[in-house]
């Protein structure tokens, strides 16, 4: 691999600060609504489904499957794979698949969380499981 790609540090805000603090400790947190029971990502204080303010943080396993992806070949920093992955806990999220053979990605493939450093909190990425 070439020199590690530089990723922007999260700006963070009062609503999401706990997510990024947990990330620094290697914990991947998602939000669960105690009113409707659904989990969501990225984290909101008010549930985007039932609009209850009774949302709580819970740690996710980091296990996921690829919902879809696209290998972007027209990039000054080299090809990269954008993807949506579906977490074992339910929610799907946008990410990049990294550190594996990007030519062999498949929808439905199992992937796992990896953190990539920034000048601030690390960012969640996924790689072949």
């Amino acid at each position: 691999m070439a020199e590690a790609k530089k990723y922007p540090a999260p700006v963070t805000n009062p609503e999401t600060a706990q997510f990024w603090e947990a990330a620094k400790a290697g914990k991947f947190m998602i939000k669960r609504c105690t009113a409707c029971g659904d989990r969501h990502y990225f984290p909101r204080s008010i549930c985007p489904f039932c609009f209850s303010d009774k949302t709580v943080w819970e740690e996710a396993s980091g296990e996921a499957t690829i919902y879809t992806y696209s290998l972007m070949r027209k990039s000054p920093t080299g090809p990269y794979a954008i993807a949506y992955v579906t977490l074992k806990e339910g929610p799907s999220l946008q990410t990049n698949i990294v550190d594996c053979d990007l030519e062999k990605l498949k929808i439905g493939q199992k992937v796992k969380l990896v953190w990539k450093p920034t000048d601030g909190a690390p960012l969640p990425f996924f790689t072949a499981a």
Partner: protein
């Protein structure tokens, strides 16, 4: 309350340029405004409503001042490339409510001359910005999943570009006038899997404008009468990541609303302007609008079904964004303009649909695979 038949498109203008390094963006707005006002047979002093989106330098008040307008109604709804389809619906609402009587809508800019300013970020920024979503790969992700779920092929997608190129050969202003084949498309370089270079639209400088007015004023003018009879708008995003499905667009909601208001069905449509930022955009929207069942878009677009005079649903007879023009990376305005030309009987004779009295103009804005808006306009010749 309905906007059905309450507003007419009395003037249209598409800038002939595709590359304008010698002009300012505001100037292009003024040139398309002038063109549309003259096409309608009106003067600038007649304009009492102004609509613009994120491409207008500084937004509505600098533009109103720059153009020297005196308006009593403004609307700067920003929904990317479909802003102008939404503006048409909103102009009809404003006209029906008596808030203005002659509305000007402008679009212009120069992405071919220089880079565009970055898209404004929302609450998701920290959780998405690092992953490099662009138009190409966001639409690529939709195409990839559509292929997975429904067996759609690159060859089927290529037929959309082939149809657009058949139309573009007759448009003297089209950026790409060469007729291409399915093989040409699938042999063009892969940009973001599974989209090839020829699955992507052109990048052009330029713009377009329209005049929307009351039935009475339209009837006092000289142009053939074209009116809006149905309009819908909707938005879609990952919504917290629940039940993610990238194989449909917000057109699944905007389309039925517009058809219901118009009192017509997809089977009645004689001509379709469908936003073609990428081939997959067209395929998904045709399904979402009900021209075929979900998942059958590939079969529907194949074998020239979108070519005027050949297939059942002539589409983008100006060559569309895939071949002719995609000013400011925003295709909604040119979709309306070609639909009006078809309804007026002013399209190129080689692509003019016979007895074209009912058309659809539909588009999305934003990133289809991330967050986007959609708007549907049903237009009728009176």
């Amino acid at each position: 309350m309905t906007i059905k038949g309450k507003a007419y498109i009395a003037g249209i203008y598409e800038h002939p340029t595709r590359h304008a390094p010698d002009k300012s963006t505001a100037q292009l707005h003024a040139e398309v405004a002038k063109g549309a006002i003259e096409d309608a047979g009106l003067t600038k002093a007649d304009i009492d409503g102004y609509f613009c989106a994120g491409d207008a330098p500084g937004g509505a008040w600098p533009m109103v001042d720059y153009l020297g307008l005196k308006v009593r109604h403004v609307d700067s709804t920003e929904t990317g490339g479909c802003s102008y389809l939404i503006h048409l619906g909103h102009a009809a609402e404003a006209i029906a409510a008596g808030k203005c009587s002659i509305a000007l809508v402008t679009l212009a800019g120069k992405p071919r001359t220089g880079p565009m300013p970055p898209r404004a970020a929302g609450a998701e920024a920290d959780f998405e910005a690092a992953y490099g979503a662009t138009t190409h790969n966001a639409y690529g992700m939709c195409a990839m999943r559509h292929m997975h779920d429904y067996g759609t092929t690159s060859e089927q997608l290529a037929w959309i570009k082939v149809a657009a190129s058949h139309h573009a050969q007759y448009n003297p202003h089209a950026m790409l006038k060469e007729v291409v084949t399915v093989e040409d498309v699938i042999n063009s370089p892969m940009i973001s899997d599974p989209l090839h270079r020829m699955d992507c639209c052109v990048v052009t400088d330029g713009g377009g404008a329209m005049i929307v007015t009351t039935p009475e004023i339209a009837k006092s003018l000289k142009k053939p009468l074209v009116r809006l009879i149905g309009h819908g708008e909707a938005m879609k995003g990952p919504r917290g990541g629940k039940d993610l499905d990238l194989t449909y667009s917000a057109g699944i909601w905007s389309g039925p609303r517009a058809f219901e208001e118009a009192g017509v069905t997809p089977k009645d449509i004689k001509y379709a302007s469908i936003y073609d930022s990428f081939t997959i955009t067209v395929l998904m929207q045709l399904e979402d609008l009900g021209f075929c069942k979900k998942g059958e878009g590939g079969k529907f677009v194949a074998d020239g079904n979108l070519i005027s005079g050949v297939g059942k649903l002539p589409f983008n007879t100006d060559g569309g964004g895939l071949c002719s023009n995609h000013p400011v990376n925003r295709g909604g305005m040119t979709k309306i303009l070609e639909a009006v030309r078809q309804l007026r009987g002013e399209a190129h004779p080689k692509v003019q649909v016979q007895n074209c009295d009912l058309a659809i103009a539909h588009g999305t804005g934003g990133l289809l695979g991330v967050r986007h808006a959609a708007s549907t306009c049903i237009l009728e010749r009176v």
